[in-house]
């Protein structure tokens, strides 16, 4: 029996290493090459911030970054608001007709192929334009709306699961102590949901920052988001400044995900002493 333990752990350890290598070597490679002085990709020409400088001096990269951040901010905020409402409805009103259908439907955007989501949204916008003359031209507003639709689903599910685990008697206790339902929401429900909402906000922010497919469908001329810019540049040939841009993007997303995870974990520990 004593030999089985270490043996198995060696096997598991190599699995782990292989898995992580598979996941992160490409990204690491990209990060390393972003510091490559040489213009030719496979040739290492020494360490340099050259491509980062080039990046900061190119106006179209700046424009795309600003657009992406704007969309991500608006998307995260609006999606958190509506997603929280949907999550509340799913978790709290346990008996309403079509609840199961509604629960299933809210998670559909999570499994729907992005191409389908993008295409259907594009069709929606075109139809809307014919019917009510809006949106005049597709661009930031249509991309934002498209992002909100799928981000909302993620947030609704985060909120719903938090509420499902939470103690309903907390809200009853507040009611019992004289708080009217609206007050209970403000004093008890929302403060308890705050970590979930923050995590959801960050998740929505990074989802929006990452999205290429849906944005490509619903974007119009002159509205190029960062992933779209990277993709179009790559098609014209690999240029090292894109590595630098992608590295920065990875950094931003990693920070967002780490903070979201940290908030959720810390809060869980607080709740279960």
């Amino acid at each position: 029996m004593s030999g089985a333990g270490p043996q198995r752990s060696t096997f598991l350890l190599s699995c782990l290493c292989f898995g992580f290598a598979f996941l992160y070597i490409p990204i690491l490679l990209m990060i390393v090459y972003s510091f490559n002085h040489s213009k030719l990709l496979p040739v290492w020409g020494g360490f340099s911030f050259r491509w980062y400088v080039t990046l900061f001096n190119s106006p179209d990269v700046w424009a795309a970054t600003v657009l992406s951040l704007k969309i991500a901010l608006i998307n995260a905020t609006v999606a958190t608001f509506f997603g929280t409402l949907a999550g509340l409805a799913l978790a709290r009103f346990t008996r309403f007709p079509g609840r199961t259908l509604f629960t299933g439907m809210i998670s559909a955007p999570l499994v729907m192929p992005e191409v389908i989501t993008g295409l259907s949204l594009l069709l929606l916008f075109i139809t809307l334009q014919q019917l009510i003359g809006w949106p005049g031209n597709r661009g930031m507003s249509t991309i934002t709306i498209a992002h909100i639709t799928f981000s909302m689903a993620y947030i609704a599910i985060i909120i719903q699961s938090r509420l499902a685990n939470s103690d309903l008697s907390l809200e009853e206790a507040a009611l019992d102590l004289g708080a009217k339902p609206f007050r209970v929401m403000a004093d008890i429900t929302l403060p308890l949901l705050a970590p979930g909402m923050m995590a959801g906000w960050l998740l929505a922010f990074t989802l929006s920052l990452d999205d290429l497919v849906i944005a490509s469908f619903v974007a119009g001329p002159g509205s190029t988001t960062l992933p779209m810019l990277i993709y179009s540049r790559i098609r014209l040939g690999l240029k090292p400044d894109i590595n630098a841009l992608a590295t920065l993007l990875v950094l931003a997303v990693a920070i967002g995900v780490l903070i979201a995870g940290w908030i959720l974990i810390r809060n869980q520990r607080l709740r279960k002493p």
Binding site: L170, E172, G178, A179
Partner: protein
């Protein structure tokens, strides 16, 4: 002038789908009582409590508290507060803020809140923990905070849902007495829900034993224990020997019953009339049975003498529980106090000892259902 009941429940019913949790209940609770609703899980006791608090809407019936009809009153306007089984302390607020919450919602001014919260924390001996968050407290401390929070608004009625359920045995016994002292001091009407019959007996001025959404019996702890109304109550509150038989004669106050097993005649006192030939059970508490090695001198008051052998023996320290198989065939459980010390590890009664057990007719109760 007769005093009106403080809480008056009439025809209260609540169903969940096909399940009737509370079934057409009438209940009167007096001012200042410590009333305990006792029953197993799913008996409807918690649903009844939640209807008093206003969390459940009755399907039928009425609830009056201190003369005011509560039908249309939402929980936040009822003169009632509740202590939850999980305590339901707000995890994002300190002890102080938890306790102050009810006063804050009532718009009491700050200085007054500070004063009253201070007093209340003093009363439950939690003044040193005012700034702590709930997750930094032990179970017993949380229980005190929850109690303080539910009492701060000086409710007319305090509802307690399994108030001691989450505490360990030693702490529970100590807290029981504290709770009774507190209730005595404040004079608030307490309605307690519990499944623990010992807790109910200790706390209650009156107990209502519930089963299947109805009351089986309402009475003082002694009434419920000594004169159980039904077999269910006798079994649920304490342990009991239930011997089935048929009535052979019924003189005023005394009933003779021939047991089904062994056809022995046993005698029990009863205020009710029982028709000869009707099927009944004789219920005797194990501690009311005398166990001896020699045959007791039969006196007229103790006709119930049975011979048997000790089949099982459990030494519990201050008393022993013995299961005696009588010659008639049925098994009788007897508890015998260990009044003398036996340092050699021997018990006054051992396995397979031949014994005589007896009980006076007054110790037995005749139960029909």
């Amino acid at each position: 002038m007769t005093e009106q009941p403080f809480i008056k429940v009439r025809g209260l019913t609540r169903t969940f789908g096909n399940f009737t949790a509370v079934d057409n209940i009438d209940l009167d609770i007096n001012r200042g009582e410590l009333f305990v609703l006792l029953g197993g899980s799913g008996c409807g006791k918690t649903t009844l409590l939640r209807m008093l608090a206003g969390f459940e809407t009755p399907d039928a019936g009425s609830i009056e508290i201190d003369g005011a009809d509560m039908a249309q009153t939402p929980p936040y306007s009822r003169p009632v507060n509740m202590m939850f089984q999980s305590y339901a302390l707000f995890p994002h607020m300190s002890v102080e803020k938890n306790v102050a919450y009810g006063l804050k919602r009532d718009g009491v001014d700050r200085a007054q809140i500070k004063l009253r919260v201070g007093e209340m924390l003093q009363m439950v001996e939690m003044q040193d923990f005012a700034k702590r968050k709930p997750h930094q407290l032990s179970g017993g401390q949380r229980q005190r905070v929850a109690l303080a929070r539910s009492l701060i608004k000086k409710p007319k009625v305090l509802l307690l849902d399994e108030p001691l359920g989450a505490l360990d045995k030693r702490l529970r016994e100590q807290t029981q007495f504290e709770l009774m002292e507190l209730q005595d001091k404040l004079g608030t009407t307490f309605v307690v829900v519990t499944h623990d019959q010992e807790e109910a007996m200790t706390l209650a001025t009156r107990i209502a034993v519930m089963e299947g959404g109805r009351f089986m019996q309402i009475g003082t702890p002694a009434e419920v224990y000594e004169t159980p109304a039904t077999k269910f109550v006798a079994n649920f509150v304490g342990s009991v020997n239930m011997i089935d038989g048929v009535v052979t004669s019924c003189q005023p106050g005394l009933v003779d019953v021939k047991t089904k097993q062994g056809a022995v005649t046993l005698q029990a006192q009863s205020r009710d009339e029982h028709a000869v030939g009707s099927e009944v059970s004789i219920a005797v508490r194990p501690e009311k049975i005398i166990i001896q090695k020699t045959r007791p001198e039969t006196e007229p008051e103790t006709p119930n003498v049975l011979h048997g052998t000790v089949k099982e023996l459990a030494y519990l320290g201050r008393l022993s529980t013995l299961r005696v198989e009588t010659d008639a065939g049925f098994i009788v459980e007897v508890t015998s106090p260990n009044t003398t010390r036996h340092s050699d590890g021997k018990h006054p009664f051992e396995w397979d000892d031949e014994v005589y057990i007896s009980f006076p007719a007054a110790s037995a109760v005749v139960l029909i259902a």
